[in-house]
C-alpha cells in the first residue's frame, strides 16, 4: 500500500507524533546580556535531550539579544534552538515547520515577560548563593506570582484559610556557582523560606550547578559542556538538574 512520508514519519521521529498539547514547557527568565544564564539554559537543553527528551530552546529574535545565543537550528543530541517573539513563542516551533519537542525551554527577557499575558505554569530560575542574586531572584519570584492568575485553594491546605487563592504557577530554582552541596542547600532553603513567608509559592528545588566558568566557556565555544567534557563535575551537575526537571514533568502527566 502506498504511503506518504507523513504517514510514517512518526515511526522515525517519535517527537513529531506528539501533539502540541503534550509539549512540556518551562520558562527561564534571562536578563539582557546575561551570558551565564544563557549558557546554563543552552547547556541544559542539550542535557535534557541527552536524557531522552528532545528539547527545543526558544529564544528572542537575533536582533534582540546581542549575539547571546548560538545560531538557530538543530543542535547536538536532538536539541534545537528556535527564535521567536512573545505571543508566538509557544507555537514558534510549529510555525517554523519543526516537529514538536518533548520539552520546550523558553528564555524570556524582561520585556518579553511583560508582553506575555498568558503566563506559563512552570518557571525555572537560577541564582548563586550571593545575597545580591538571591534577593533579585526573590523579588522576581514574587513578581511572577503576583502576575499569575489565581486558582482555588487546595482542600489539603486547610491551614491557609486566610489565603483562599493560590497562584497557578510552579517555580523551581537551581543554585549555581557553589563550592559545596551544603552551600547550595542553605541558599535554596533561605530563599524558599523567605518567599514562603510573604507568598503562597512553594519553591521546587532543581539541584545545583558548579563551575560556572566552564559553562560560560561552553557557550562561547558553542560546544556544549556535555560533549566537550562529558565526565566533568559541571556536566554531572547539569545532568542531575535535567533529571529532576524531567521527573517532575513526567509526574505531571501521570
Amino acid at each position: 500500500m502506498a504511503r506518504t512520508l507523513g504517514d510514517v514519519i512518526g515511526s522515525f521521529i517519535p517527537e513529531a507524533a506528539a501533539p502540541a498539547a503534550e509539549r512540556r514547557r518551562i520558562c527561564i527568565p534571562v536578563a539582557a546580556g546575561d551570558v551565564l544564564v544563557a549558557a546554563i539554559a543552552w547547556n541544559l537543553s542539550v542535557e535534557i535531550s541527552r536524557a531522552g527528551a528532545p528539547c527545543t530552546l526558544i529564544v528572542a529574535p537575533a536582533e534582540d539579544d546581542g549575539g547571546l545565543w548560538p545560531p538557530a537550528g538543530p543542535g547536538p543530541l536532538g536539541s534545537r534552538l528556535v527564535r521567536g517573539r512573545a505571543g508566538s513563542l509557544a507555537t514558534s516551533a510549529a510555525a517554523a515547520g519543526l516537529p514538536a519537542s518533548a520539552v520546550e525551554l523558553e528564555c524570556l527577557s524582561e520585556g518579553l515577560r511583560a508582553e506575555t499575558r498568558a503566563q506559563p505554569e512552570r518557571w525555572l530560575l537560577f541564582s548563586s548563593p550571593d545575597p545580591t542574586q538571591l534577593r533579585r531572584v526573590h523579588d522576581q519570584i514574587l513578581e511572577l506570582a503576583a502576575n499569575t492568575p489565581k486558582r482555588p485553594n487546595r482542600p489539603d491546605r486547610p491551614d491557609k484559610p486566610e489565603q483562599p487563592d493560590r497562584p497557578e504557577i510552579r517555580i523551581g530554582v537551581t543554585i549555581h556557582g557553589v563550592r559545596r552541596i551544603a552551600e547550595a542547600q542553605a541558599a535554596f532553603e533561605e530563599l524558599a523560606v523567605a518567599v514562603e513567608s510573604v507568598s503562597d509559592v512553594a519553591l521546587a528545588s532543581y539541584g545545583l550547578l558548579v563551575d560556572d566558568l566552564h559553562l560560560y566557556r561552553a557557550i562561547v565555544a558553542q560546544r556544549p559542556i556535555g560533549l566537550a567534557h562529558p565526565a566533568a563535575p559541571a556536566t554531572r551537575a547539569l545532568a542531575d538538574v535535567a533529571r529532576l526537571l524531567l521527573d517532575d514533568l513526567e509526574a505531571d502527566t501521570q
Partner: protein
C-alpha cells in the same frame, strides 16, 4: 589580602579578582575584579560605620574608568570589557543606616553593599553554614529592589524549613568537592 579574596569568593562568586591593593590617586583599591560579562568592579573592605568608604569607592570608579582601554591593550587576557561601566562593591559585616542611605542615593548600578555574617567575616568561606545576619532593609517585595543592601529578609526562625526541600542526586564527591574545599 587573601582573606578579602576568600570572603569575596564566598559572597560574590561570579567575580574574578585580577589585582589586589591597586594604588589609585592617593589611596589603594583593596581588590579589582571582573564580572563574567567583563565589567570591572572595585571591591573595598568596609567598616560598618565608615562612610568615607563610599567616597573611596566613587573615587576608585573615577580612577579606573579612563584606564580600562589601556588595560585592555596591555592585558587582553584579563577579559575586561571597557565599554561597560565600572562599579564598586563594599563588603562588610553590616552597614549603618547612613551608609545604606548614601548607597541608595548613588544607585545599585554603581555601588553595591554586600553583607556577610560575623563568623564568615572572621573565618572566610569555611563559615558558609552561617546564615547572613539580619540586615535592616527596605519593605519586602518588589520595592525592595531599590535597596542597595542586597540581602534576603531573614528567616523567621532557625527551625523553619521550606515546604519543598532541597533536592539533588549528587554528593560532594561526585562533583569533585569535599567538606574541606572551599
Amino acid at each position: 589580602m587573601s582573606d578579602l579574596r576568600d570572603r569575596l569568593a564566598h559572597r560574590a562568586p561570579s567575580l574574578r579578582v585580577i589585582a589586589d591593593q591597586v594604588l589609585a590617586e592617593t589611596r589603594r583599591i583593596d581588590c579589582v575584579a571582573v564580572e563574567l560579562d567583563g565589567a570591572v568592579v572595585a571591591v573595598l573592605d568596609a567598616e560598618p560605620d565608615d562612610l568615607t568608604t563610599v567616597a573611596r569607592a566613587l573615587a576608585a570608579i573615577e580612577w579606573l574608568t579612563p584606564r580600562l582601554p589601556d588595560w585592555c591593550q596591555l592585558a587582553p587576557e584579563l577579559g575586561i570589557d571597557s565599554s561597560l561601566p565600572v562599579r564598586a562593591l563594599l563588603l562588610a559585616r553590616k552597614f549603618d543606616p547612613d551608609t545604606v542611605a548614601a548607597a541608595r542615593r548613588i544607585g545599585t548600578e554603581t555601588l553595591s553593599l554586600v553583607t556577610e555574617s560575623r563568623a564568615a567575616a572572621a573565618s572566610g568561606p569555611n563559615a558558609t553554614e552561617n546564615a547572613p545576619e539580619t540586615i535592616p532593609t527596605a519593605p519586602e517585595g518588589p520595592t525592595a529592589l531599590s535597596n542597595p543592601v542586597e540581602s534576603l529578609p531573614s528567616r523567621p526562625s532557625a527551625t523553619v524549613a521550606p515546604r519543598l526541600g532541597f533536592r539533588t542526586g549528587l554528593r560532594d564527591a561526585d562533583l569533585g568537592l569535599s567538606e574541606q574545599s572551599g
